[in-house]
Symmetry: D2
Subunit: 299 residues, 4 copies
Amino acid sequence: MNNVPFKGVIAYPVTPFDSNENIDIPLFKKQVERLVKTGVHGIAPLGSTGVMPYLNDTEKEAITEATMQQVAGRVPTLVGVSNLTTERTLYHAKFAEKSGATAVMIIPMSYWKLTDDEIVKHYDEVASKISIPIMAYNNPATGGVDMSPALLKRLLEIPNVTMIKESSGDIQRMHYLRNELGDEVAFFNGSNPLALAAFSAGARGWCTAAPNLIPELNISLYDAIQENDLVKARAIFYKQIDLLKFIVAKGLPRSIKAGLDLLGVGGGRFKSPIQPLNGNEIAELDGILSAIENEVYQS
Amino acid sequence: MNNVPFKGVIAYPVTPFDSNENIDIPLFKKQVERLVKTGVHGIAPLGSTGVMPYLNDTEKEAITEATMQQVAGRVPTLVGVSNLTTERTLYHAKFAEKSGATAVMIIPMSYWKLTDDEIVKHYDEVASKISIPIMAYNNPATGGVDMSPALLKRLLEIPNVTMIKESSGDIQRMHYLRNELGDEVAFFNGSNPLALAAFSAGARGWCTAAPNLIPELNISLYDAIQENDLVKARAIFYKQIDLLKFIVAKGLPRSIKAGLDLLGVGGGRFKSPIQPLNGNEIAELDGILSAIENEVYQS
Amino acid sequence: MNNVPFKGVIAYPVTPFDSNENIDIPLFKKQVERLVKTGVHGIAPLGSTGVMPYLNDTEKEAITEATMQQVAGRVPTLVGVSNLTTERTLYHAKFAEKSGATAVMIIPMSYWKLTDDEIVKHYDEVASKISIPIMAYNNPATGGVDMSPALLKRLLEIPNVTMIKESSGDIQRMHYLRNELGDEVAFFNGSNPLALAAFSAGARGWCTAAPNLIPELNISLYDAIQENDLVKARAIFYKQIDLLKFIVAKGLPRSIKAGLDLLGVGGGRFKSPIQPLNGNEIAELDGILSAIENEVYQS
Amino acid sequence: MNNVPFKGVIAYPVTPFDSNENIDIPLFKKQVERLVKTGVHGIAPLGSTGVMPYLNDTEKEAITEATMQQVAGRVPTLVGVSNLTTERTLYHAKFAEKSGATAVMIIPMSYWKLTDDEIVKHYDEVASKISIPIMAYNNPATGGVDMSPALLKRLLEIPNVTMIKESSGDIQRMHYLRNELGDEVAFFNGSNPLALAAFSAGARGWCTAAPNLIPELNISLYDAIQENDLVKARAIFYKQIDLLKFIVAKGLPRSIKAGLDLLGVGGGRFKSPIQPLNGNEIAELDGILSAIENEVYQS
């Protein structure tokens, strides 16, 4: 089988800013350290949660390097390097590789809808010039282009495109990949409310920002699946579903940062135009977190 | 808990016609007998598969009575009684009850989109005048109206509306029902390609026409779930997914009848405007059935 | 050019019921008489507005005959004869022809999505057995099947399918028909808020229930288009747009009947499950009608 | 009325690249000169057609300055300054103002869906720091966020947001703006196949890349509307609809550059991942342009 350095729960840190909208590296490192210590199986900076597209080149490089320093090889790292242009995507992929990233994640960002051939060429161009594996990431809600399962299958023919992250929220896409490519295909789920269904369908891992707030529940869901205990997995899933739905509905950066503030870790500020949750939303999140705390962590 | 007489695999027979587009009761009884003998846990005539909306009142009554005679109490029966008007829905619900049906299934058919209040009133009007339980059926692709999970929850407050059949294909709807109503809620999955995900999410049963063609695979999926063996359930699911996708893509009446012809049972003819599958489609179905036969039944 | 007996504003009466949900023929005749006297260019009973799919065969026949008696040849008539089955569609098409209808309107109603070939066969079967022209009606929001412009073009090859009514609300469909078939193609607009755009695109007529409430505005829009006075047509259109949007948003039978009540004509009751507008909705409609009255009819 | 410096046909140039994917300023100036000479009523560099989001800051500034030099005040200019971050949007807005742009165009680009409040704050932040007017641009298909008519109305309350460009392709959005804000509201159509419907609805102008290929037809459509001659406008519109549909279906940068090559002007190369049309597509475009040439320019 190909080079697939990930399984289990891959955690996505936020990118914290200070009051001048500059990145706050010390807080970022603190958040990353906390994630690693929870026992997650990978760290993925510069994802959607990390508002990668809103950062300039310098900021992206600083976050990449800070991640490598802080993780220090304890778990594999997956660095987001997507860009509208192929040239900038390649630039950041090379930077990540040189910095020591285990793999890079690429979503075909779009302003103009890309043809399938353009997308294949885009991945192929980057893949041919780096040596670490690539996770192809489908998320039409953010990237603006929807890669069909057939296109994803085609991308997996590029030697170092070895992993798929599916965030469309459509479980049938995962069925297709598994059915077409066999039980060794490395597809990861990126849609939080689909965590149980995706693991049931055979997903190798779960790419999620939720471990910033409820790492034990996220990891124990994966463990129950590994133990082939569906009844247990289902019970654990329903304990966290309200939180999973909330963070998706309100936007991951906004809701995770609010949650980190509520937990006393500190989420950091935002880069405009993205703004914090409002008071009612924060109160709703507080209620969800408290209910989980009461049910799970004190029982 | 309420009166929920179903669990497991509920099988939907087709309605066969003769060359004059009249219903073929002897063939229908033969098909029903064959379904009962496979070991399915319920029989549901006059469903979407049974092209209920295309039948006149006399034909519906004949199918209802033939089902009762043939099933003869060996498994519970669920009779479709939906109609555009409340008056006709009530008429057929009463007929089903009098004929001995275990329960009735009602989808809010629409030409004009119904408001939530109109739908609640429609169910309430029928429910208050019969004594057997009602399964509320959501299938926007056929019925033309999409009942939200919140509306389905509201319908379950009507005393003898005790079951939900969800066929929207959106696993999140099932999460909602289970999360809002607890693990005793009786929701059934009506979307064939969602069978594994729905059972994982806690569905009590699977309403499906597939047992006309591959009953062993359908029932053994349910059995594996009952044994809490997800690995086994997943393997069984992927053996049948091509067939499940095909029958949905091509339309259940067309594809099940073609499959029954291929299996030598005889599917019967159609009522216009619905026509049989074309030659290429039948060949594709034959290939899928043969692949299953080779892998499953001869291994 | 083919046999196209319509142009201008074709008015759709409602079907009034009494308190026992039986049709109220005297009130229906009164409403039809009022419509004819406004100067509309055609009368179309048993349309969506007339809740045709909710009526039984006897009721449909009574409405058809009442229309013929009351219109008495003063304007052409267009009778809805659609049904889920081809057999019933043909039955009602023959009845309409025998009763003296100028033409029949057929929408391919669906429970199971029909293939293009099934739809063509359905129309062809009916068309070959009647002599009056057929208007093929596309309205995916009610009928549940969306006929592409290419399919509509194909239907126009059937000898007495001579007219298209497009209610999808997509102006590009009309552009396609006109562009493909030339300026003699007889397409009619059935989407009220698209009235100005459709006439601008070359629609031959407007199929609408609005003349039950604001006939002068509807007819004067058509007149301005005939006079090639776009500035005037635009001004007239914006005077009625609030009403056009309201009746579509709330459902034509509900809103037109409420409007007829407000105007003192009497709209009649409903057949369940369809219910009247609620008090707030009726007040909103009253406000819209009063604003039009003040601006238009008293200036 | 507010400061609205545009009406009529506003032409969008492409951004040509050389074989190294660097911008080709001499070719850009030649294309701009040609557009100005056709008689269009405004020039809009760095639009979607100009692949603005794919350019780096230096490239955007060079295109802005080249436009000002070449147009030299002969027609008003509208410069695209949109960016994911508010900071970069403001930076480019200030640069455009300083360079002499008549106005700037801003689409709320998104990776994370923005809330209405975030969008208002984004516009307000930029608007308060420049003095030239802003055109708020809605195009969910490219920008990824869909601004409702109600939000657009709210944006028009910001003092120098004086114009709306609607590219959603939904004529009802324009009806809403006109109906809510009166006949002085300055909305522009950005959906090419909607050109006739939008002018009929009262659009003040048409933002389009089509004048790169068929300027006479675009301008004469506007002239016919100004003359209140709908019959003539309709005839002119149907002469160009195939071209308008093609350039939208295939993507404006790809199709306009191919067309400029076919016309002998030269369209320039692309920046990856965007690639040229393939041979079949170019042949189809050639056929459309030839048909227009034969019908329009030689008659």
